[in-house]
Symmetry: D3
Subunit: 287 residues, 6 copies
């Protein structure tokens, strides 16, 4: 009985936050270890379903580079990278799309549905959602690595209004039907802006942005967009963090109130970020 009381108290403590976010849109970039560890997967899925049930329009974006690499190796193809980007020839593109849309995406859909949600998987090619084109690079020809030309959010609105949770693979297409491999952080950042989301939450493998990447106690809790840009320009951001931080900058520039990088491997990190004052991880905002 005492335990029941404590539980009820906890639910009540969440009430002000539920009131704050109800009816708003939140984009979650799902990735890293949180996407591969079964226990972490369940935790994230429960968080996302709970958010949907308390009235938040949840939109999930995912990548899956590691799974693409695995499948390429199983097929005897050696992945190539240039400047941190996957060189994507036609065969690689075919494999990337197959793995992201047919495997990673469907696993997330399964997880969310098993947790009681009603998820619908989408690629950026569905409903012509993400129109993209070849990304020019100083690293040479990267093949079908793409950048975003425009985003049409109609199918997302149609699905969220009907209570579904869209789960989006970071694949774009052009008018001729050619697929492009787009960085998932970039998709999440730009989509959050297009949807006028109140938050972009990026799940990463670390606690957030660290002043000293090797020292987890040096977490930067709060960062303005201009401070973030200086950090990147000065080379003070770990390489893997750069696209995440740039995605946050882009989101805030696009009108999103706050962007967050949090540790997806902490159980229920999403709830902790949304349902406490302090928040967790690193928060990027205009000022």
């Amino acid at each position: 009985m005492e335990d029941l009381q404590r539980r009820a108290d906890t639910l009540i403590e969440a009430l002000p936050y539920i009131q704050q976010w109800a009816g708003k849109t939140i984009v979650v970039k799902y990735g890293g270890a949180a996407m591969t560890d079964p226990q972490m997967q369940d935790n994230v899925a429960q968080d996302l379903v709970l958010l949907r049930y308390v009235g938040i329009n949840v939109v999930v974006v995912h990548g899956g580079g590691q799974r693409i690499t695995e499948m390429m190796k199983r097929l005897g193809i050696e992945p190539k990278f240039a400047g941190g980007l996957r060189v994507t020839d036609a065969e690689t593109m075919e494999i990337a799309q197959m793995v992201l849309v047919g495997d990673v995406n469907q696993q997330l859909v399964s997880l969310l549905n098993a947790a009681g949600g009603r998820a619908v998987g989408l690629s950026g090619k569905d409903a012509n959602m993400i129109i993209s084109r070849k990304k020019e690079s100083s690293e040479g020809d990267l093949g079908f690595v793409g950048e975003i030309v425009s985003i049409d959010t109609e199918v997302i609105h149609v699905l969220t209004e009907a209570g579904f949770v869209p789960v989006i693979s970071s694949i774009g297409g052009d008018a001729e039907g050619q697929s492009y491999n787009i960085n998932a952080d970039t998709v999440a950042g730009q989509l959050a802006g297009e949807l006028q989301a109140v938050k972009l939450v990026t799940l990463s493998d670390v606690a957030g942005l660290l002043e000293d990447p090797d020292d987890p106690t040096t977490l930067i809790s709060k960062l303005t967009v201009s401070e973030a840009k200086v950090l990147i320009a000065d080379g003070n951001v770990a390489e893997g963090m750069i696209p995440k931080l740039e995605s946050c900058i882009q989101a805030v520039a696009g009108g999103v109130e706050r962007a967050h990088i949090i540790d997806g491997c902490t159980a229920h990190a999403l709830l902790m970020e949304l349902f406490t004052d302090a928040g967790i991880g690193t928060m990027i905002s205009t000022e």
Copy 2:
């Protein structure tokens, strides 16, 4: 941080229950000490607002006999009772309406709104919601004590669909505009049926129905409608419990799945009833 984790875990434990009740209607009969003790009031208000936010259509019904008696005494009028019912002459009816609609109801509305809800106070006379007539009694003429002729739920639907929480005083009216004092348990029971609610939850001052009214360890957790009727017929129900139990019987007869009598003075009893398997208090159902 550990504390945050525990909180998040608790929210997640509520998820299956939220899924179960979302979109359903629950009628709460509010009364007893839970309605007078400030701390208990806040607890109940928070519970009701939380239920609304997780998608439950909450409808509150209240009485307030004690407050009517207090006001009568302040006005130098001696309350009279016959067979447990307040003999309600014209002056008493005027005071009862004034106290219930203008005082008790508005206090509940204030509580719910201060807790973040959007409550709207109603009497059964508003929108011709509760059509009533004089209740004939073997105890003689009880004046304007009323019974329900019919309930028109349109204004409740209009308000709940717009996200409001209707708070209803147990006053009815007839075609000529005469007010009637109706037992609040009766209103709650019949209204729950008309609304096809999934639950009627009655807040009382005790833990539920007790086999031995003097021994709180003899709580009856579960009761069928026919068992409940036998208990009443055999005189084994404490007098104050009879209208509450009859209200539960009426609700279940009207199609409500489950009716509950719980202790409104236990902090967050409503949440504990709805968000745990075991439930608390006494549950009445068809079988």
Copy 3:
């Protein structure tokens, strides 16, 4: 038969006015003797219901100072006034709310419903409609006399769209749930502006604004806002008329086309004002 013909002719004469007002919103400030005399009550109720049936969105605002004073005296409390305003300590506030919301309001609801309408009583605390704060006064501390901070008309729109007639007590609340006693003319004037009403009609005990308050033949039929302000500044308005006239000024400043002060004791004065060219009473407009 001839009589029938005359009746039909009269209905037809109303047609151009019905066309003019159909679909528009009209706020009626109900008060004075029209609110206490049973015959006058019936007349006003019929007028209001007829207006609703010919397609006008009718919103009623009422006060009830006299009834509050009566109840205070019954309770042995001496009312105190300062600068024409009721000094409202906590006990007075409790009584005022009880009388206005639980008694006066419910009587109006009964009257309208008996006349065939579908009225719903509201206080400014319902649905957080009227957010208010303590009114500072040069007369010293007036207690819980309030002024309006903001008005949220959502619940009014929800109810009028469903065909109901909202009847509003001039009580406001703040974020903590404290009630405030607000002048009903002020509520009516500001609400008319927020609702973008075409008319505010104030029912008073006299024929309108008189040049010589003692001479009913000196009715001022038409007044611009600036003329009205000069009249007040010059001290040429009877004290009881000042809040009514200020309410009209406020309404017109808020965008209401025309504000009227008419004699609520004339049978069917509302219809006469709306359904004749000449109108009755005093009309205040921009120019």
Copy 4:
């Protein structure tokens, strides 16, 4: 002022009737002298527009045999009749349609619009509303005299929901586009049934059904369907009245509560019928 009072009283007397009919559909068969006399026309138009403004869905059906005959004579064609029906060869059909749809109908539309309504003229061919076929007759070949096969009320619903008053010429069509001349009483009677109207009101040149056609004091106020059938079978109905009475019988058989034959030349006869208890003219109902 006294006059104003009397007018207001009259409006209020109409209130119970307005409540009774608001939101219901009433079909008016317009014909006879009421359709040709300018003063009568204005009266009827005002009545119809008033009914629309107090929330009644008004649908008007008209014929115009006299005008067809006039035009035929102007064109040097001799009208022929058989058994009371116009023998309608191709040329006659062309003229009938031209006169009804292009002249009579448009005049009614003009009248209603000048009275403040928003009328839309329709023939039964518009939107395939009245599908008809050649009427077989014991009188021999009547040409394009038609009977009704089916009625599609969609266009009527679309227009009345948008606040328009449909004015319908009694012309039908078949799948090949051939026009048919249909008795307007028949169209009104059957259409009233299809629309589930509460009333069919037929405007005629006499006060109603008379026991002695030559004695206006012998008005039959009330008639059951079976009594009406007996009257016709016994030859006790004036010839011109037979189609009107049959139309009423058909309407009531189709589910219309009450059908009326009233004197369209009495000023505002429609209002008098609808807005008094006694009603005027002859009323036909099930029992």
Copy 5:
């Protein structure tokens, strides 16, 4: 089978054009020989119905001067013209309205419905659609020849949204219900602008605008508004073409993208114009 294949290929060739026009509004001015020759009538009707089925909001405007003249002659009245406009006395106006609304319009409705459409005939007087006034003329008093004061498109939107095809006679009315005879090209041109149509297509008896009116090989395919004005000013447009060209100029000035004059006697000219890149006839656009 080969033939089937060719048919399917043709349908597929239309696909890009269907995509281009779906959901858009197109006003078609119907007139000339295409309106009198039965084979041509069927062709045009099929075209219009097909356009409606592939998602285009089709609105048809027609005149019918020749039919008016015929009827006047049958009635022994000599038509008079001044400056190319019909001098329209009261009797002529009556005949014009009767012929246009009751005859020509209903024939078009029949044609469209026989082709599988759901057409609804309207005059500009219906629903007060076309408010007009007497047109002053340098040619003297032309009687009831009218010009357009304003157009209210509500009834057109109500009907097209419900899937109907409005067919409009070029008759206008004023507030008193007086009818006016308006040039149908003028109605079509102005209506296209009010509806923000993407196209006005005028069906004429010739292939389009010819440099040399006697030489059909001198078709002008494309014309800017300013070029068109110069052509008229220089007297290089055949008299019958002037109102058509002015109507196109007016439409384009009103915001219509493109206006076309095409040969209504060419089978399926409408489809050919809409469903080919080259188009047919003369096209007028801003530049």
Copy 6:
């Protein structure tokens, strides 16, 4: 010009069929060579997009066994079959889902979008659309070969009402998120019934059902359900045709009017089937 005329004539010939199918739902089972040959793909995509534009709700279901086999071979895994069904161990299931959802489905989406449509790819796991379970087989344990437990069509309705074309992979899921490989013909047949489609059209590699499988001239044009069952029972259906024919039988049993097996390699076979009286291929109906 003559060519334009012929094209227009062809469009007009399609009009009656467009009228017949507009607003109806048609399920297309896409498979065989039509799904692999680029030219055939384009043809089918154009047909599907055209159908959508003329108002038909098109739903596409696809399998892709050949592509699964190819990918398994690339991964060095030997496909196993039992009784015509793919033995589907966990690894095979993963590959099947990846190929169907991530590759075949996305190619169809690209094709439809490149043809001007707005396609959205779905698996049966999205939105819990196809709930399935392990299919018991007399051939032994087939692994994750599934059968359908239930279909929830909500996401399909949401998407078709918004104008999208759902493209569905024949993958189902259970409550725990396990994927099942379901025969695409079975999915199409059952889904057509659930959607109350008017037609199921199965694209195959042959002209339809042949009396003599080796003789294309022995096409059976029309077949009742009972005749079809006899054919199967008697072993007179080619093995590859059996699931297609059973799917048609199931659809018709589920309420679909007509089911068709046509040659997907004939250019625009879908249009030819829908837009001609004769139809092509084999048609199965109740009688």
